[in-house]
């Protein structure tokens, strides 16, 4: 066995340039696939992290009948005594923060234009609002008792030339189905670097949001951050109550998790296509080697090498080529990913409701690297079946005659 690997290695060394370029072809394929996988991985990870931070939290407690898409405000769809629920939840050991939020759909009236927005009433001082406080880029966060202040996102501010101190009118749906409106002052501008969020979300103190929508002391939900997100299911199971329902970050981000599994399936498909193409390069190299070494195959079988052993020799060659290619691919892949992440590629959000950042970056995971490496090895070995069988099928006499030299 060792001898076969040694022979395979030296055989590859006979035509170094050809062996190198075959390995390089595989390496380039692997590195580009790694980069793609890393970009997808990064998108999904940061998408999930951003969504949890700004929007979904790790857990939400809502009224059973609450419909997120409609941002329903009817009292029956809202949570009674959200402050009390939040306080009780915050006392749980696994919970790091909990506080109520109220969502309402609204319209900003600015001169002639009216812009659909989502009004979000939050407790400005709560730990769950830290991402907003930290992303204020101009002015300041509204105070909890502010009755005429809002904070708007950077995208909105830029598009409609709004600055801190400007006035605007907000119309919102109310609990009894009417529309109410009031003039507000822009206290500050935040930028979470997530256009899909910043472009549409207007923040105001929870108390003011409750007042303007007529929701009383009710809220759409209580948002909970956990110390460890893997405990979401356990904590959710512990929260029981009539008329309420608990949602975990996984179910709240169904679109993202679905996208992830879809992306993963698609990536495997893409892996197979690209690796199939690079494998033809390896097969080509081996077929040439079989032709060039016909006489040697004859000698080896004259010495009593069995067909399996002849096949093993060519498999060893393709395995060495594959390992070399994979090594090149991983090194190049790591370089590509580092470069890509350092620069970042600007994008505009395309997918509605998914919070992606302003720039594409890449995160290489061990799992992706291993999956791809193993797959590359398997695909290459399977393709090597053809030249290996070709070599093993030669009759010793034919093979010996094949390369008879003068």
């Amino acid at each position: 066995m060792l001898q076969i690997i040694k022979m395979a290695w030296r055989d590859l060394g006979r035509n170094r340039r050809r062996s190198f370029f075959s390995a390089l072809a595989l390496g380039l394929g692997v590195s580009l696939l790694l980069l793609m996988a890393a970009v997808v991985e990064d998108e999904i990870r940061t998408g999930m992290a951003t969504s949890i931070r700004l929007q979904s939290g790790h857990l939400q407690v809502r009224a059973s009948s609450y419909d997120e898409d409609k941002a329903s405000l009817a009292w029956s769809d809202l949570l009674e005594d959200p402050g009390g629920i939040a306080a009780r939840l915050a006392a749980l050991p696994q919970v790091s923060a909990a506080s109520p939020r109220l969502y309402a759909s609204g319209i900003l009236a600015l001169g002639d234009s009216s812009i659909s927005v989502r009004v979000m009433g939050v407790d400005p001082a709560a730990a769950t609002s830290a991402p907003f406080r930290e992303s204020v880029v101009s002015g300041a966060m509204v105070g909890p008792e502010d009755r005429e202040g809002v904070v708007i996102g950077q995208g909105l501010a830029t598009r409609y030339s709004l600055a801190t101190g400007d006035r605007l009118t907000v119309m919102v749906n109310t609990s009894n189905g009417d529309v109410d409106q009031q003039a507000f002052i822009v206290r500050g501008i935040y930028s979470t670097k997530t256009p899909a969020f910043d472009d549409v979300t207007v923040l105001m103190p929870l108390a003011k949001a409750q007042a303007i929508t007529g929701a009383g002391n009710r809220a759409s939900l209580v948002l909970i951050m956990l110390k460890d997100r893997d405990q979401a299911d356990a904590v959710a199971a512990a929260i029981q109550g009539s008329g309420i329902r608990t949602h975990t970050w996984q179910s709240l981000n169904r679109l993202l998790t679905d996208t992830e599994s879809l992306a993963q399936g698609f990536m495997i498909f893409l892996y197979l296509i690209i690796l199939g193409i690079t494998a033809t390069v390896v097969v080509n190299t081996l077929v040439m080697a079989v032709f060039e070494r016909t006489r040697e195959i004859g000698i080896l079988s004259a010495l009593g090498m069995r067909r399996r052993q002849v096949m093993a020799l060519f498999f060893a060659e393709s395995a060495l080529l594959a390992l070399g290619g994979i090594a090149i691919g991983v090194v190049l892949g790591v370089l590509f990913v580092a470069l890509f992440s350092a620069v970042g590629v600007p994008v505009r959000p395309g997918l509605n409701g998914v919070l992606i950042g302003e720039r594409l970056r890449a995160t290489l995971t061990l799992r992706d690297t291993l999956t791809l490496s193993v797959l590359a090895l398997i695909v290459t070995l399977i393709s090597a079946l053809y030249p290996a069988r070709m070599a093993a099928r030669m009759e010793p006499v034919e093979a010996l005659r094949g390369g008879k030299q003068a």
Binding site: Q3, R10, R14, L303, G304, M305
Partner: protein
């Protein structure tokens, strides 16, 4: 003791509608310790006969026995095993594996028959000594002369102590001196080690070494005679 025997062996090749009868019913038995020359004009079937005795090729009809088993009834892998265990080859072109050193080439048959490392190394060293190449073990074939390569090939054929060694025109690609050296080596191995050789040749000087001369013409055995050696 008989090491190999062919009975009424024919071998024909079809190329399109042309059929060549390379062997037309040859019977021959090889005894242990013989030093046999297979002679005859070009195209008379010497190589074909050696390949059939050596289990590299199958006859069109007739039977072949090597070491008691009937080769014509064996499968591919069993024939490979027979070649591995019983038969040594020396070819006209110095059939060494170019990527392996002289040492590794000689070692190859011992690896194939799973000789343990200790005895294997001892055997290879001994063989390098026997063929007078003790200091050249680390050289690759392209760093050796034709005569040296052929001696390595003989050492490789000897390695597993085969029942017999087949040599197809072993000196045809060598100059007189190197040819003589190779024939002297084979003779010495036969006389001192009892190694059985069957070699094909055209060369009258090489025929002179033989103790038995088998002559083929047009695929048929025309004479089989003892010789002086």
């Amino acid at each position: 003791m008989e090491v190999a025997r062919v009975e009424n062996v024919t071998r024909s090749f079809k190329l399109g509608d042309v059929e060549t009868h390379a062997l037309r019913g040859v019977s021959l038995a090889i005894q242990d310790g013989e030093f046999t020359a297979l002679v005859g004009p070009s195209g008379s079937g010497k190589t074909t006969l050696l390949q059939i005795i050596g289990c590299l090729d199958q006859p069109t009809s007739g039977r072949v026995y090597v070491g008691g088993s009937e080769v014509t009834r064996l499968g591919r892998d069993q024939r490979a095993d027979l070649r591995r265990d019983k038969i040594g080859y020396v070819f006209q072109f110095f059939a060494l594996i170019p990527t392996l050193t002289a040492y590794e080439n000689i070692e190859m048959p011992l690896l194939l028959n799973n000789t343990p490392a200790g005895p294997r190394a001892a055997r290879v060293k001994e063989l390098l000594d026997t063929v007078g190449l003790a200091s050249r073990g680390g050289h690759r074939p392209d760093q050796l002369s034709g005569g040296e390569q052929q001696r390595v090939a003989i050492a490789r054929a000897l390695a597993k102590r085969p029942a017999f060694i087949l040599a197809d025109e072993p000196t045809a690609n060598l100059d007189t001196t190197n040819g003589q050296q190779v024939m002297d080596l084979m003779t010495r191995l036969n006389r001192e080690g009892g190694v059985t050789f069957i070699f094909a040749t055209h060369d009258p000087r090489v025929i002179g070494y033989a103790r038995r001369v088998v002559t083929l013409r047009d695929g048929a055995l025309v004479s089989d005679a003892a010789a002086g050696g």
